[in-house]
Symmetry: C2
Subunit: 245 residues, 2 copies
């Protein structure tokens, strides 16, 4: 039995949902509402001491970190192969899973603060309540970031750095796609899956970053990604905040 | 032929040197002096467009990112096995390779700024020269961090957050070591190798963080790590700044 602790709009959750969909695996949903800070409640930090989603429970064994989870799914359910056989192609794949965190997730998260996170929090909570949540955060690095954002938000300069980082990532992807249809070369892989949520978020935030005239190979890759049934399934998980509207 | 682009005191370089040593592999050294900003010169950014070390050249194929490189070495030279066979143990291993970057490297780098990086730079360069190097940095996220540190250094509050993050990491390691002699359980693995440079740096910076009374299992693990010939080899690479002194 696979049970996924996840949040509808979390990039790292989307990554794992897309991998599960590619492999055609059934899973139980445990939705952890980040907008209500459920991820820092003891019921969840027993599962993931960092207070992040996603986490995967496979027959009682807990896994954390989205990149770790998708390689575990590949190791455990290899029938639909999402990792190249060749060692060098695997390394190329892992470069993209790595950058999906270092560049993609870090900057998409920063850029989502002013547009999505802060307004969502303000609808539900008072400034004092938001400050009180800080004391519930179990992970020092996350607490420091949350505290900084409560105090200062994300500045225009930080946002421009984040868009520049996306530009760097997308330039690297364009260069990689000159060597094959997918990021690791011939084979569609976990690398393509891993960066997909960040690309989608970047497009939502500033559509011009995906200008096909500037990066035609990436634009073609992006069309092929969005046409995959697994993409559609991963991104169609129902948003509980939209229920009944 | 394996050629490693690395720097003597870079944590991520130490990680790869230790992996190479465990596997008994011969390699050619291309030392990239971070204290002289050689990593941002075009001769090197052609190898690694991020301007980070290490990078590995294996028969003309270039690999970047230390965690990617050590899994590649495992895939390519599996005779000395450093990755468990069991899928769950592999996932545990990868949780530590992941955290060696997210927690270990990020915080060790921050804590090394005031103690090592800034004084080293000031010995070699004027403030204007240091500012000029900013324009040579190829990677927007790194440029932003370097610019912030030139302007503001690393504050005492940031340092305390970094030590708290190490405390979190070490608590997690202590908990993991209750399940076996090594971080992924029964088998010594890339997970143990990956966190080693950060543990060593933390000990240099603030020896009390490794208080054996507080985390006895980790203290025992640390003694066993330091006794390994591969550890000694990885950390004995000659420092060119010490040559002839």
């Amino acid at each position: 039995m696979l049970t996924l602790y996840h949040y509808v709009n979390s990039l790292c959750s989307q990554k794992v949902r897309m991998c599960l969909a590619e492999k055609g695996l059934d899973w139980q949903s445990r939705h952890v509402h980040l907008g209500k800070f459920e991820q820092w409640q003891p019921a969840y930090t027993r599962i993931n001491p960092k207070g992040f989603v996603p986490a995967l429970d496979h027959d009682g064994r807990i896994l954390i970190e989205s990149n770790v989870i998708i390689e575990y799914l590949e190791d455990s359910f290899p029938d639909t192969r999402l990792r190249p056989k060749d060692a060098y192609a695997r390394a190329l794949m892992r470069r993209w899973t790595y950058d999906s965190e270092e560049i993609g997730h870090a900057n998409a998260n920063a850029l989502s603060h002013n547009r999505f996170h802060a307004p969502g929090w303000a609808q539900r909570f008072t400034p004092q309540q938001l400050q009180d949540f800080l004391t519930t955060c179990p992970y020092p690095m996350l607490a420091a970031r949350y505290g900084r954002r409560l105090a200062h938000g994300v500045s225009a300069a930080e946002e421009e750095t984040a868009y520049a980082a996306f530009g760097f990532l997308f330039d690297q992807m364009e260069a990689a796609l000159a060597n094959g249809p997918w990021l690791a070369g011939d084979d569609y892989s976990l690398g393509d899956i891993a960066v997909t949520p960040s690309v989608k978020r970047a497009e939502v935030l500033r559509p011009s970053v995906l200008d096909p005239a500037r990066r035609p190979l990436m634009a073609d890759w992006w069309r092929r990604i969005q046409a995959r049934p697994a993409y559609k399934l991963a991104f169609s998980f129902p948003d509980p905040d939209q229920a009944g509207r």
